[in-house]
Protein backbone atom coordinates (compact mmCIF):
# COMPACT_ATOMS: atom_id res chain seq x y z
CA UNK A 1 0.00 0.00 0.00
CA UNK A 2 2.58 2.59 1.15
CA UNK A 3 6.25 2.10 0.29
CA UNK A 4 9.21 4.27 1.29
CA UNK A 5 11.99 3.46 -1.17
CA UNK A 6 15.59 4.50 -0.37
CA UNK A 7 14.43 7.89 0.90
CA UNK A 8 17.07 10.58 1.48
CA UNK A 9 16.31 14.17 2.43
CA UNK A 10 18.03 17.10 4.06
CA UNK A 11 18.32 20.84 4.33
CA UNK A 12 20.95 22.99 2.62
CA UNK A 13 22.74 19.97 1.20
CA UNK A 14 23.11 18.35 4.63
CA UNK A 15 21.21 15.03 4.73
CA UNK A 16 18.91 14.54 7.72
CA UNK A 17 18.16 10.91 6.89
CA UNK A 18 19.55 8.59 4.25
CA UNK A 19 18.31 5.48 2.45
CA UNK A 20 15.22 4.91 4.56
CA UNK A 21 13.07 2.08 3.30
CA UNK A 22 10.00 0.32 4.61
CA UNK A 23 6.48 -0.52 3.59
CA UNK A 24 3.14 -0.33 5.37
CA UNK A 25 0.17 -2.52 4.49
CA UNK A 26 -3.52 -1.68 4.93
CA UNK A 27 -4.54 -2.05 8.58
CA UNK A 28 -0.95 -1.63 9.79
CA UNK A 29 0.45 1.20 11.87
CA UNK A 30 4.17 1.68 11.44
CA UNK A 31 5.47 3.58 14.48
CA UNK A 32 8.78 5.43 14.22
CA UNK A 33 10.43 6.56 17.45
CA UNK A 34 13.11 9.20 17.34
CA UNK A 35 14.53 12.15 19.15
CA UNK A 36 13.58 15.73 18.19
CA UNK A 37 15.34 16.89 15.04
CA UNK A 38 16.13 13.44 13.65
CA UNK A 39 13.96 14.04 10.58
CA UNK A 40 10.70 12.32 11.57
CA UNK A 41 8.52 15.24 10.48
CA UNK A 42 10.50 15.66 7.25
CA UNK A 43 9.89 12.00 6.44
CA UNK A 44 6.13 12.39 6.92
CA UNK A 45 6.12 15.68 5.01
CA UNK A 46 7.73 13.86 2.08
CA UNK A 47 4.97 11.23 2.16
CA UNK A 48 2.37 14.01 2.37
CA UNK A 49 3.85 15.61 -0.74
CA UNK A 50 4.98 18.69 1.19
CA UNK A 51 8.74 18.07 1.09
CA UNK A 52 10.81 16.99 -1.90
CA UNK A 53 13.15 14.09 -1.27
CA UNK A 54 16.77 14.41 -2.41
CA UNK A 55 16.71 10.76 -3.47
CA UNK A 56 14.29 7.87 -3.40
CA UNK A 57 10.51 8.06 -3.43
CA UNK A 58 7.34 7.31 -1.52
CA UNK A 59 4.81 5.20 -3.39
CA UNK A 60 1.11 4.68 -2.72
CA UNK A 61 -0.21 1.64 -4.56
CA UNK A 62 2.85 1.89 -6.81
CA UNK A 63 2.22 5.56 -7.66
CA UNK A 64 4.87 8.10 -6.54
CA UNK A 65 3.62 10.73 -4.07
CA UNK A 66 5.09 13.99 -5.35
CA UNK A 67 2.29 16.33 -4.27
CA UNK A 68 -0.50 16.21 -1.66
CA UNK A 69 -2.82 13.30 -2.50
CA UNK A 70 -6.53 13.30 -1.55
CA UNK A 71 -6.31 9.76 -0.14
CA UNK A 72 -3.24 10.52 1.99
CA UNK A 73 -4.11 12.36 5.20
CA UNK A 74 -1.65 14.14 7.46
CA UNK A 75 -2.50 14.82 11.11
CA UNK A 76 0.02 17.43 12.31
CA UNK A 77 1.50 17.87 15.78
CA UNK A 78 -0.41 21.13 16.28
CA UNK A 79 -4.04 20.94 15.17
CA UNK A 80 -3.67 24.19 13.17
CA UNK A 81 -7.42 24.82 13.21
CA UNK A 82 -8.51 28.04 11.56
CA UNK A 83 -9.89 30.21 14.39
CA UNK A 84 -12.25 32.11 12.06
CA UNK A 85 -14.20 28.98 11.07
CA UNK A 86 -16.47 26.77 13.15
CA UNK A 87 -15.52 23.18 13.89
CA UNK A 88 -17.80 22.00 11.06
CA UNK A 89 -16.21 24.35 8.52
CA UNK A 90 -12.71 23.41 9.69
CA UNK A 91 -13.52 19.75 9.16
CA UNK A 92 -14.97 20.37 5.71
CA UNK A 93 -12.21 22.65 4.43
CA UNK A 94 -10.54 19.83 2.47
CA UNK A 95 -13.83 19.14 0.71
CA UNK A 96 -14.22 22.80 -0.22
CA UNK A 97 -10.72 22.74 -1.69
CA UNK A 98 -11.74 19.67 -3.72
CA UNK A 99 -14.69 21.61 -5.09
CA UNK A 100 -17.48 20.04 -2.99
CA UNK A 101 -20.02 22.80 -2.37
CA UNK A 102 -20.44 23.76 1.29
CA UNK A 103 -24.22 23.52 1.16
CA UNK A 104 -24.35 20.26 -0.79
CA UNK A 105 -25.77 17.07 0.72
CA UNK A 106 -22.45 15.29 0.11
CA UNK A 107 -20.52 17.94 2.06
CA UNK A 108 -22.92 17.93 4.99
CA UNK A 109 -23.03 14.12 5.17
CA UNK A 110 -19.26 13.67 5.00
CA UNK A 111 -18.61 16.34 7.65
CA UNK A 112 -21.24 14.70 9.89
CA UNK A 113 -19.65 11.26 9.44
CA UNK A 114 -16.15 12.59 10.20
CA UNK A 115 -17.36 14.38 13.32
CA UNK A 116 -19.23 11.28 14.40
CA UNK A 117 -16.08 9.18 13.96
CA UNK A 118 -14.25 11.36 16.49
CA UNK A 119 -17.29 11.84 18.77
CA UNK A 120 -17.65 15.59 18.26
CA UNK A 121 -20.99 15.97 16.49
CA UNK A 122 -22.23 18.23 19.29
CA UNK A 123 -19.39 20.73 18.73
CA UNK A 124 -20.04 21.35 15.04
CA UNK A 125 -21.02 25.04 15.49
CA UNK A 126 -18.35 25.86 18.06
CA UNK A 127 -15.26 27.99 17.29
CA UNK A 128 -11.79 26.51 17.94
CA UNK A 129 -10.98 29.06 20.67
CA UNK A 130 -13.55 27.31 22.85
CA UNK A 131 -12.16 23.79 22.38
CA UNK A 132 -9.90 21.87 24.75
CA UNK A 133 -6.57 20.56 23.44
CA UNK A 134 -8.00 17.05 23.06
CA UNK A 135 -11.10 18.31 21.23
CA UNK A 136 -8.95 20.40 18.90
CA UNK A 137 -6.81 17.37 18.04
CA UNK A 138 -9.96 15.30 17.40
CA UNK A 139 -11.18 18.02 15.02
CA UNK A 140 -7.81 17.87 13.28
CA UNK A 141 -8.24 14.10 12.89
CA UNK A 142 -11.79 14.58 11.58
CA UNK A 143 -10.50 17.13 9.06
CA UNK A 144 -8.21 14.42 7.73
CA UNK A 145 -10.83 11.63 7.85
CA UNK A 146 -13.43 13.67 5.95
CA UNK A 147 -11.41 13.12 2.76
CA UNK A 148 -11.70 9.36 3.33
CA UNK A 149 -7.98 8.61 3.16
CA UNK A 150 -6.52 5.13 2.94
CA UNK A 151 -3.16 6.34 4.26
CA UNK A 152 -2.84 8.24 7.54
CA UNK A 153 0.33 10.09 8.50
CA UNK A 154 0.43 10.97 12.19
CA UNK A 155 3.05 13.54 13.20
CA UNK A 156 3.23 13.33 17.01
CA UNK A 157 -0.47 14.19 17.12
CA UNK A 158 -0.88 13.64 20.85
CA UNK A 159 2.40 15.07 22.15
CA UNK A 160 0.90 18.35 23.35
CA UNK A 161 -1.93 16.70 25.30
CA UNK A 162 -2.21 15.70 28.95
CA UNK A 163 -1.74 12.01 29.75
CA UNK A 164 -5.42 11.16 30.27
CA UNK A 165 -6.58 12.87 27.07
CA UNK A 166 -3.66 11.34 25.18
CA UNK A 167 -4.60 7.81 26.24
CA UNK A 168 -8.27 8.37 25.37
CA UNK A 169 -7.31 9.56 21.90
CA UNK A 170 -4.90 6.66 21.45
CA UNK A 171 -7.74 4.23 22.25
CA UNK A 172 -10.00 5.96 19.73
CA UNK A 173 -7.27 5.82 17.11
CA UNK A 174 -6.78 2.09 17.61
CA UNK A 175 -10.52 1.54 17.01
CA UNK A 176 -10.56 3.84 14.01
CA UNK A 177 -7.58 2.18 12.35
CA UNK A 178 -8.95 -1.31 12.79
CA UNK A 179 -12.43 -0.28 11.53
CA UNK A 180 -11.17 1.51 8.43
CA UNK A 181 -8.16 -0.70 7.60
CA UNK A 182 -5.94 2.34 7.00
CA UNK A 183 -2.22 2.14 6.39
CA UNK A 184 -0.73 4.48 8.98
CA UNK A 185 2.68 5.88 9.85
CA UNK A 186 3.12 7.43 13.28
CA UNK A 187 6.20 9.38 14.29
CA UNK A 188 6.63 9.99 17.99
CA UNK A 189 9.21 10.43 20.71
CA UNK A 190 7.06 8.42 23.13
CA UNK A 191 8.09 4.78 23.43
CA UNK A 192 4.85 3.90 25.27
CA UNK A 193 2.75 5.46 22.50
CA UNK A 194 4.68 3.64 19.77
CA UNK A 195 4.37 0.31 21.55
CA UNK A 196 0.67 0.79 22.28
CA UNK A 197 -0.31 1.90 18.78
CA UNK A 198 2.28 0.37 16.50
CA UNK A 199 1.81 -2.93 14.79
CA UNK A 200 5.46 -2.50 13.76
CA UNK A 201 8.04 -0.31 15.47
CA UNK A 202 11.25 1.24 14.16
CA UNK A 203 13.82 3.51 15.79
CA UNK A 204 15.19 6.45 13.84
CA UNK A 205 18.74 7.24 14.90
CA UNK A 206 22.15 8.33 13.68
CA UNK A 207 23.39 11.30 11.67
CA UNK A 208 22.18 11.17 8.97
CA UNK A 209 19.43 9.06 10.47
CA UNK A 210 18.62 5.52 9.51
CA UNK A 211 15.87 3.14 10.61
CA UNK A 212 16.21 0.08 12.80
CA UNK A 213 13.07 -2.05 12.79
CA UNK A 214 12.36 -4.00 15.97
CA UNK A 215 10.61 -7.34 16.28
CA UNK A 216 6.88 -6.93 16.87
CA UNK A 217 5.50 -7.54 20.31
CA UNK A 218 3.23 -10.51 20.97
CA UNK A 219 -0.32 -10.46 19.52
CA UNK A 220 0.19 -7.19 17.64
CA UNK A 221 -2.00 -8.32 14.79
CA UNK A 222 -5.05 -8.16 17.05
CA UNK A 223 -4.17 -4.83 18.76
CA UNK A 224 -5.53 -6.45 21.85
CA UNK A 225 -3.29 -5.37 24.69
CA UNK A 226 -4.11 -2.83 27.34
CA UNK A 227 -1.67 -0.57 29.13
CA UNK A 228 -1.66 -2.75 32.23
CA UNK A 229 -0.83 -5.97 30.36
CA UNK A 230 2.49 -7.42 31.38
CA UNK A 231 3.31 -8.10 27.73
CA UNK A 232 2.85 -4.40 26.97
CA UNK A 233 5.06 -3.17 29.80
CA UNK A 234 7.70 -5.76 28.97
CA UNK A 235 7.73 -4.75 25.33
CA UNK A 236 8.04 -1.07 26.35
CA UNK A 237 11.06 -2.04 28.45
CA UNK A 238 12.58 -3.93 25.54
CA UNK A 239 12.06 -1.04 23.10
CA UNK A 240 13.48 1.41 25.64
CA UNK A 241 16.57 -0.75 26.01
CA UNK A 242 17.10 -0.93 22.24
CA UNK A 243 16.48 2.83 21.95
CA UNK A 244 19.11 3.48 24.62
CA UNK A 245 21.59 1.18 22.91
CA UNK A 246 21.09 2.85 19.51
CA UNK A 247 21.49 6.34 20.97
CA UNK A 248 24.58 5.46 23.03
Amino acid sequence: MLVFESCTAGYGGVPVFRNLGFSVAAGELYAIIGRSGCGKTTLLSAAAGLHRLDAGMVLRDGEPLLAPHPRVGLVPQQPGLFPWYTVGRNVGIGLEISGVHRRSREYLDRVSRALEAVGLTHLRARYPARLSGGEAQRVSLARTLVREPDVLLLDEPFSALDAITREALQDDLVNLLSQRRLAAVLVTHSIEEAVFLGSRIAIMSGNPAGLTELPSGPDRGTRSWSRIDQAYTEHCRYVRKRFGALHG
Binding site: G49, P68, G80, F82, I93
Partner: protein, 250 residues
Protein backbone atom coordinates in the same frame (compact mmCIF):
# COMPACT_ATOMS: atom_id res chain seq x y z
CA UNK B 1 -22.34 31.96 17.82
CA UNK B 2 -22.03 35.45 19.29
CA UNK B 3 -25.14 37.56 19.39
CA UNK B 4 -24.20 40.76 17.55
CA UNK B 5 -27.04 42.68 19.28
CA UNK B 6 -25.40 42.47 22.70
CA UNK B 7 -22.25 44.45 21.82
CA UNK B 8 -24.42 47.00 20.00
CA UNK B 9 -26.68 47.49 23.04
CA UNK B 10 -23.60 47.86 25.26
CA UNK B 11 -22.10 50.26 22.75
CA UNK B 12 -25.21 52.43 22.70
CA UNK B 13 -25.04 52.58 26.50
CA UNK B 14 -21.36 53.54 26.40
CA UNK B 15 -21.99 56.18 23.74
CA UNK B 16 -24.80 57.63 25.85
CA UNK B 17 -22.61 58.01 28.94
CA UNK B 18 -19.73 59.42 26.82
CA UNK B 19 -22.03 61.93 25.17
CA UNK B 20 -23.39 63.00 28.59
CA UNK B 21 -19.84 63.79 29.81
CA UNK B 22 -18.95 65.75 26.65
CA UNK B 23 -22.21 67.74 26.73
CA UNK B 24 -21.70 68.42 30.46
CA UNK B 25 -18.17 69.79 29.92
CA UNK B 26 -19.38 71.79 26.93
CA UNK B 27 -22.22 73.28 29.02
CA UNK B 28 -19.86 74.29 31.82
CA UNK B 29 -17.41 75.85 29.34
CA UNK B 30 -20.23 77.74 27.62
CA UNK B 31 -21.45 79.08 30.98
CA UNK B 32 -17.97 80.03 32.18
CA UNK B 33 -16.83 81.64 28.93
CA UNK B 34 -20.22 83.22 28.15
CA UNK B 35 -19.03 83.91 24.59
CA UNK B 36 -21.28 83.68 21.52
CA UNK B 37 -18.51 81.76 19.76
CA UNK B 38 -19.34 78.86 22.06
CA UNK B 39 -23.13 78.65 22.36
CA UNK B 40 -24.55 76.24 24.98
CA UNK B 41 -25.57 72.74 23.85
CA UNK B 42 -29.34 73.24 24.23
CA UNK B 43 -29.25 76.17 21.79
CA UNK B 44 -27.11 74.19 19.32
CA UNK B 45 -29.27 71.06 19.54
CA UNK B 46 -32.40 73.16 18.97
CA UNK B 47 -30.73 74.63 15.86
CA UNK B 48 -29.77 71.15 14.66
CA UNK B 49 -33.45 70.20 14.81
CA UNK B 50 -34.38 73.38 12.88
CA UNK B 51 -31.79 72.61 10.18
CA UNK B 52 -33.01 69.01 9.94
CA UNK B 53 -33.69 67.72 7.35
CA UNK B 54 -32.99 70.73 5.15
CA UNK B 55 -30.21 71.63 4.60
CA UNK B 56 -28.26 69.51 7.10
CA UNK B 57 -29.18 66.10 5.66
CA UNK B 58 -28.02 67.04 2.16
CA UNK B 59 -24.65 68.19 3.51
CA UNK B 60 -24.27 65.11 5.72
CA UNK B 61 -25.25 62.85 2.81
CA UNK B 62 -22.64 64.46 0.58
CA UNK B 63 -19.90 63.98 3.20
CA UNK B 64 -20.95 60.43 4.05
CA UNK B 65 -21.10 59.42 0.38
CA UNK B 66 -17.58 60.76 -0.17
CA UNK B 67 -16.21 58.85 2.80
CA UNK B 68 -17.97 55.62 1.83
CA UNK B 69 -16.71 55.83 -1.75
CA UNK B 70 -13.20 56.44 -0.41
CA UNK B 71 -13.51 53.48 1.99
CA UNK B 72 -14.55 51.22 -0.90
CA UNK B 73 -11.79 52.42 -3.21
CA UNK B 74 -9.11 52.25 -0.50
CA UNK B 75 -10.19 48.71 0.45
CA UNK B 76 -10.21 47.52 -3.17
CA UNK B 77 -6.69 48.90 -3.70
CA UNK B 78 -5.05 48.26 -0.31
CA UNK B 79 -6.36 44.74 0.27
CA UNK B 80 -4.76 42.93 -2.70
CA UNK B 81 -1.61 45.05 -2.55
CA UNK B 82 -1.25 44.56 1.22
CA UNK B 83 -1.69 40.78 0.82
CA UNK B 84 0.87 40.76 -2.01
CA UNK B 85 3.42 42.65 0.11
CA UNK B 86 2.72 40.49 3.15
CA UNK B 87 2.97 37.16 1.35
CA UNK B 88 5.56 37.81 -1.38
CA UNK B 89 9.08 38.72 -0.29
CA UNK B 90 10.16 39.97 -3.72
CA UNK B 91 7.17 42.30 -4.07
CA UNK B 92 7.65 43.43 -0.48
CA UNK B 93 11.32 44.26 -0.97
CA UNK B 94 10.57 46.25 -4.14
CA UNK B 95 7.38 48.11 -3.15
CA UNK B 96 7.43 48.44 0.63
CA UNK B 97 10.28 51.00 0.79
CA UNK B 98 8.34 53.35 -1.53
CA UNK B 99 5.14 52.86 0.50
CA UNK B 100 7.12 53.38 3.69
CA UNK B 101 8.46 56.72 2.42
CA UNK B 102 5.00 57.84 1.29
CA UNK B 103 3.23 56.91 4.53
CA UNK B 104 4.41 59.81 6.73
CA UNK B 105 3.82 62.42 4.01
CA UNK B 106 0.75 64.44 5.16
CA UNK B 107 -1.76 63.57 2.45
CA UNK B 108 -3.55 66.87 2.92
CA UNK B 109 -0.42 68.52 1.49
CA UNK B 110 -1.13 66.66 -1.75
CA UNK B 111 -4.58 68.29 -2.06
CA UNK B 112 -3.49 70.91 -4.65
CA UNK B 113 -1.90 68.20 -6.80
CA UNK B 114 -5.02 66.04 -6.50
CA UNK B 115 -7.22 69.00 -7.54
CA UNK B 116 -4.93 69.72 -10.49
CA UNK B 117 -4.82 66.10 -11.61
CA UNK B 118 -8.42 65.04 -10.96
CA UNK B 119 -10.16 68.37 -11.44
CA UNK B 120 -12.15 70.29 -8.88
CA UNK B 121 -15.11 67.88 -8.80
CA UNK B 122 -16.04 64.94 -6.60
CA UNK B 123 -13.17 62.75 -7.83
CA UNK B 124 -10.59 64.97 -6.14
CA UNK B 125 -12.38 65.03 -2.77
CA UNK B 126 -12.92 61.25 -2.82
CA UNK B 127 -9.37 60.80 -4.11
CA UNK B 128 -7.66 62.63 -1.25
CA UNK B 129 -9.65 60.71 1.38
CA UNK B 130 -8.88 57.47 -0.47
CA UNK B 131 -5.16 58.31 -0.27
CA UNK B 132 -5.37 58.75 3.51
CA UNK B 133 -7.24 55.49 4.04
CA UNK B 134 -5.17 53.55 1.50
CA UNK B 135 -1.87 53.95 3.34
CA UNK B 136 -3.45 53.27 6.74
CA UNK B 137 -4.98 50.05 5.45
CA UNK B 138 -2.03 48.98 3.30
CA UNK B 139 0.31 48.62 6.25
CA UNK B 140 -2.12 46.90 8.61
CA UNK B 141 -3.14 44.44 5.88
CA UNK B 142 0.50 43.79 4.94
CA UNK B 143 1.48 43.14 8.55
CA UNK B 144 -1.55 40.91 9.17
CA UNK B 145 -0.89 38.91 5.98
CA UNK B 146 2.75 38.52 6.97
CA UNK B 147 1.77 37.32 10.46
CA UNK B 148 -0.37 34.42 9.19
CA UNK B 149 1.15 31.35 10.90
CA UNK B 150 3.05 29.08 8.53
CA UNK B 151 1.30 26.11 10.17
CA UNK B 152 -2.05 27.25 8.73
CA UNK B 153 -0.60 27.39 5.23
CA UNK B 154 1.02 23.98 5.71
CA UNK B 155 -2.29 22.46 6.84
CA UNK B 156 -4.08 23.87 3.82
CA UNK B 157 -1.33 22.77 1.42
CA UNK B 158 -1.47 19.29 2.96
CA UNK B 159 -5.18 19.23 2.16
CA UNK B 160 -4.36 19.97 -1.48
CA UNK B 161 -4.80 23.73 -1.26
CA UNK B 162 -3.18 25.92 -3.91
CA UNK B 163 -2.11 29.57 -3.35
CA UNK B 164 -5.59 30.77 -4.35
CA UNK B 165 -7.07 28.61 -1.56
CA UNK B 166 -4.52 29.96 0.90
CA UNK B 167 -5.67 33.49 0.12
CA UNK B 168 -9.35 32.57 0.29
CA UNK B 169 -9.41 30.35 3.36
CA UNK B 170 -6.48 31.66 5.39
CA UNK B 171 -5.14 35.07 4.42
CA UNK B 172 -8.43 36.92 3.79
CA UNK B 173 -10.09 35.77 7.04
CA UNK B 174 -6.85 36.46 8.91
CA UNK B 175 -6.57 40.04 7.61
CA UNK B 176 -10.26 40.93 8.02
CA UNK B 177 -9.85 42.18 11.61
CA UNK B 178 -6.83 44.19 10.43
CA UNK B 179 -8.89 45.79 7.64
CA UNK B 180 -11.47 46.89 10.19
CA UNK B 181 -8.73 48.19 12.51
CA UNK B 182 -7.24 50.11 9.58
CA UNK B 183 -10.65 51.59 8.83
CA UNK B 184 -11.23 52.54 12.46
CA UNK B 185 -7.86 54.28 12.66
CA UNK B 186 -8.26 55.85 9.23
CA UNK B 187 -11.80 57.20 9.56
CA UNK B 188 -10.87 59.96 12.02
CA UNK B 189 -8.06 61.21 9.79
CA UNK B 190 -10.19 60.77 6.69
CA UNK B 191 -12.95 62.98 8.12
CA UNK B 192 -10.42 65.67 9.02
CA UNK B 193 -9.02 65.62 5.49
CA UNK B 194 -12.52 65.55 3.98
CA UNK B 195 -13.51 68.56 6.08
CA UNK B 196 -10.62 70.51 4.58
CA UNK B 197 -11.25 69.23 1.05
CA UNK B 198 -14.90 70.30 1.28
CA UNK B 199 -13.92 73.90 1.78
CA UNK B 200 -12.87 74.17 -1.88
CA UNK B 201 -14.94 74.17 -5.06
CA UNK B 202 -18.17 72.73 -3.61
CA UNK B 203 -21.41 73.89 -2.05
CA UNK B 204 -22.24 70.56 -0.44
CA UNK B 205 -20.70 68.73 2.46
CA UNK B 206 -20.46 69.40 6.19
CA UNK B 207 -17.00 70.92 5.75
CA UNK B 208 -18.48 73.53 3.42
CA UNK B 209 -21.45 74.10 5.76
CA UNK B 210 -19.23 74.69 8.82
CA UNK B 211 -16.77 77.03 7.08
CA UNK B 212 -19.62 78.87 5.32
CA UNK B 213 -21.42 79.42 8.65
CA UNK B 214 -18.16 80.56 10.24
CA UNK B 215 -17.59 83.12 7.47
CA UNK B 216 -21.16 84.40 7.99
CA UNK B 217 -20.50 84.70 11.74
CA UNK B 218 -23.39 82.23 12.27
CA UNK B 219 -21.75 80.47 15.20
CA UNK B 220 -24.80 78.47 16.22
CA UNK B 221 -25.09 77.07 12.68
CA UNK B 222 -21.34 76.40 12.71
CA UNK B 223 -21.68 74.41 15.94
CA UNK B 224 -24.71 72.57 14.51
CA UNK B 225 -22.52 71.56 11.56
CA UNK B 226 -19.81 70.34 13.92
CA UNK B 227 -22.40 68.26 15.79
CA UNK B 228 -23.64 66.79 12.49
CA UNK B 229 -20.06 65.96 11.42
CA UNK B 230 -19.49 64.26 14.77
CA UNK B 231 -22.65 62.20 14.25
CA UNK B 232 -21.35 61.12 10.82
CA UNK B 233 -18.05 60.07 12.43
CA UNK B 234 -19.82 58.12 15.19
CA UNK B 235 -22.08 56.46 12.60
CA UNK B 236 -19.03 55.33 10.60
CA UNK B 237 -17.33 53.99 13.73
CA UNK B 238 -20.52 52.14 14.63
CA UNK B 239 -20.73 50.61 11.15
CA UNK B 240 -17.15 49.31 11.55
CA UNK B 241 -18.00 47.89 14.98
CA UNK B 242 -21.13 46.28 13.55
CA UNK B 243 -19.13 44.68 10.73
CA UNK B 244 -16.65 43.39 13.28
CA UNK B 245 -19.34 41.84 15.46
CA UNK B 246 -20.88 40.13 12.42
CA UNK B 247 -17.76 38.97 10.57
CA UNK B 248 -15.15 38.53 13.31
CA UNK B 249 -16.86 36.10 15.63
CA UNK B 250 -13.94 34.03 16.81
Amino acid sequence: MADPRRPIARRIGNLGSGAAIIVGVWWILALVMSNRVLPPPDVVFARVLELFPTPLVAHAQASLARVLKAVGLATVCALPLGILLGRNRVADSILSPAAYLMYPVPKIALLPIVFLLLGVGEAARVGIVTLVLFFQMLFVVRDAARAVPASYVKVLTGLGGRPVHTVRFVVLPAVLPAILTGLRIGIGTALAVLFFAETFFTRYGLGFFIIDSWSKVAYIDMMAGIVALSIVGIALFTIVDLLESVFVRH
